[in-house]
Symmetry: C2
Subunit: 221 residues, 2 copies
């Protein structure tokens, strides 16, 4: 696990933590790693809640699925990102959503309960950890706000543009790569893939953007 110490220290969860404290802290948090092959579930709706996931390799998507088989992608977690924190910290018993490995992934799982309980050993930093977690969960909240903003646009074109403008803003550039393929983007925005694909074609033809795969360039007109 030591090979991932630098990665962990760079995550917002362990921000401000003394590197020397990391190892005992991980032990105290009941850390354990799991390896999940591409496409397999990390957890399923109904599973016991209470753990916080950190992506060390690969990527994870958290999704809602309904009867009809419709997928709605809630969050996409890349290397260094957290997932499941909000469910862990909200004191619920079972997960209301599922998580899948989008690629072969190596994940670190931490116990939320142990994070919130002060224990004996090297855990003077528990309080810092809780503050970090608060910030992480609050920022996840902002992300969901953004998603809601995209989804509440009326037309597919408006949803796309709202999303792409936000990505450009986040990248600080009119050129950026999104973490979704077409189907996943449609599932994230809550629209039809084929209709979305058609809208992307129109936007390109209108000179508003260029795209190649998941790489986009927005033109200001």
């Amino acid at each position: 696990m030591k090979e991932y110490f630098d990665l962990l220290l760079s995550t917002p969860l362990f921000s401000g933590i003394d590197p020397q404290d990391l190892y005992p802290m991980l032990h105290c948090l009941g850390a354990n790693t799991v390896t999940i092959p591409k496409g397999d579930p990390v957890f399923l709706e109904g599973d016991a809640a209470g753990f916080i996931g950190v992506v060390m390799e690969g990527s994870v998507q958290v999704v809602q699925e309904d009867f009809y088989g419709n997928r709605n992608i809630l969050t996409h977690a890349e290397k260094g990102d957290l997932f499941g924190e909000a469910f862990a910290c909200a004191n619920i018993e079972t997960m209301p959503v599922s998580g899948y490995a989008v690629r072969d992934s190596k994940l670190l799982l931490l116990s939320c309960q142990k994070m919130l309980t002060v224990c004996s050993s090297a855990c003077l930093f528990h309080n810092q950890l809780v503050k970090n977690m608060l910030k992480v969960v609050a920022q996840k909240n902002l992300e969901m706000n953004n998603k809601i903003r995209f989804m509440s646009q009326k037309t597919t074109k408006e949803k796309l543009m709202a999303y792409l403008l936000e990505q450009a803003k986040a990248a600080g550039s009119s050129e950026f790569t999104i973490p979704f393929d077409r189907q996943a983007l449609a599932d994230y925005l809550g629209v039809e893939r084929s209709a979305m694909s058609a809208e992307l074609g129109k936007l390109k033809k209108a000179g508003i953007l260029d795209l190649k795969g998941s790489h986009f360039v927005l033109h200001r007109t």
Copy 2:
């Protein structure tokens, strides 16, 4: 402000706090009350972020508004509820949304920065406060998850049913009252008011529910 101490102590933010500590704590958090008449803004998009709101009287809605004048209701906060916590804790500079008083309201505003900074006086409970806040923000996250679940349904009828079933579940009864009028419910679900009204009529005619104003009864068939 003392008249509201019991209310404050019953909120999840001050859960586990010794009543004797409340007053100095409020002082330490830079608490101040404001009175907002019905319909007036509590804060507007672009205002400085950083405060946590507690509803002591009345109710507050947090909304997103776009160019076209479309409203999207993000959260509805009743007496005893918090609002704006996620924006305050996420370390952003300006509010990305607006808040309005739905009725004449009396609000308590707390400084988030002061909550996260350990100060000298009676603030041994800061850590408890941060933990409480983490739970509150995490639960708000679940609420947004639910809203996303409603919004990601394909038809207006499905959105309505998903919302109403959740309300029944939350009320623990097939009979419940929602905090929205028709226009507000439409704005919350992201649908047309008139189309939604028509769907409600169909659902009633089909014997799936009864409704009078904001009071609903779901029938199991």
